[in-house]
Symmetry: C2
Subunit: 193 residues, 2 copies
């Protein structure tokens, strides 16, 4: 049934190079706040035709997802490291702060999510899974150690943070977001009977 044909040829080198160029240009544009940049313009800056762009990324969302996938991976990969270095609750706190830092520094994830969540939730669902797994590991460890409540849904924490990042604006935003991290942690703590 699964008639997967092994590719007979190696992928063409120029194809991969163009793909890289497109991702680089798109990431730069999104980071600079040009979330609504016309795709023609992305193709032009990358020095390829519009057709090439659409072959690599069948629509706008696909391009955006590809750009952020790498970023999200890096964020997710930090989770195990932190878990190894800190006690559970502090690892969770550290990761959440890292999340904030990440958004603050790059200002990349938030604006992109905005344009997407409305239409195709699929993107968020797919990319989000990576982050979900990351935070779930941290939370379950903290639950196991008895530090935080068992009925915490890790996704709730993630959603709250992502939400705050949406409205990131003004200079005081970052400290405000970190305050929220502390509130969330405190609110998740197991009420010592």
């Amino acid at each position: 049934m699964t008639d997967e044909k092994k590719p007979r040829r190696r992928p063409r080198s120029d194809g991969q190079r163009n793909r890289e160029n497109l991702l680089t240009v798109a990431k730069a544009a999104f980071t600079a706040g040009e979330v609504d940049i016309p795709l023609d313009e992305v193709a032009r800056r990358a020095g390829v035709g519009i057709g090439t762009l659409y072959r690599h990324f069948p629509n706008r969302d696909a391009l955006i997802e590809a750009v952020y996938r790498a970023e999200l991976d890096r964020l997710a990969n930090a989770a195990p490291t932190l878990a190894a270095q800190h006690p559970p609750v502090e690892a969770l706190r550290a990761w959440m702060r890292l999340f904030v830092d990440y958004i603050a520094a790059k200002q990349v994830i938030a604006p992109a999510l905005n344009g997407l969540v409305g239409g195709t939730c699929a993107l968020y669902a797919q990319s989000g899974t990576i982050l979900q797994n990351a935070i779930e590991g941290l939370v379950s460890a903290a639950v196991a150690s008895g530090d935080i409540n068992a009925d915490i849904d890790p996704l709730d924490l993630l959603r709250a943070l992502a939400g705050v990042s949406n409205y990131a604006a003004g200079p005081g935003w970052e400290t405000s977001a970190k305050r929220l991290v502390d509130i969330l942690i405190a609110g998740s703590r197991r009420t010592t009977p």
Copy 2:
């Protein structure tokens, strides 16, 4: 300096009626999840020309803001009532839950915010002020009564809730959001020394 000319005539009745129709249709569409509905279609459903739509609402954002302004007002107006009926912390909790209910029932605020926050933050800033005032009143009362921490920024709570509403999806969302309310309240509580 303020050369405000008193309008010489009363506004035309059909003008107001058309405006109402447009708002009604737009609200219905947005509530039904058709956030990306073409404006021509809105005009058509309202039985007016596209030109009429654009005279009343110079662009898409203006229409969306007008639709939600009324909703937000109702939400904000509930705050004083709740404050009169409950002790401070419970009033705050009740209002936050109401916020969630509101979004859950209407599914109106969230998808609209999505399409907007990215581009023009002005809308959120303007409409948001209404909600900001509402929650600030509740929070400061709870601070005054000594129930919650003084360094809580009401906006943080609001942002977290709004954020969760952005990713509202799936059946279990509402209960999840209410759990978050409790987490936020618990995390805001003054640590009794």
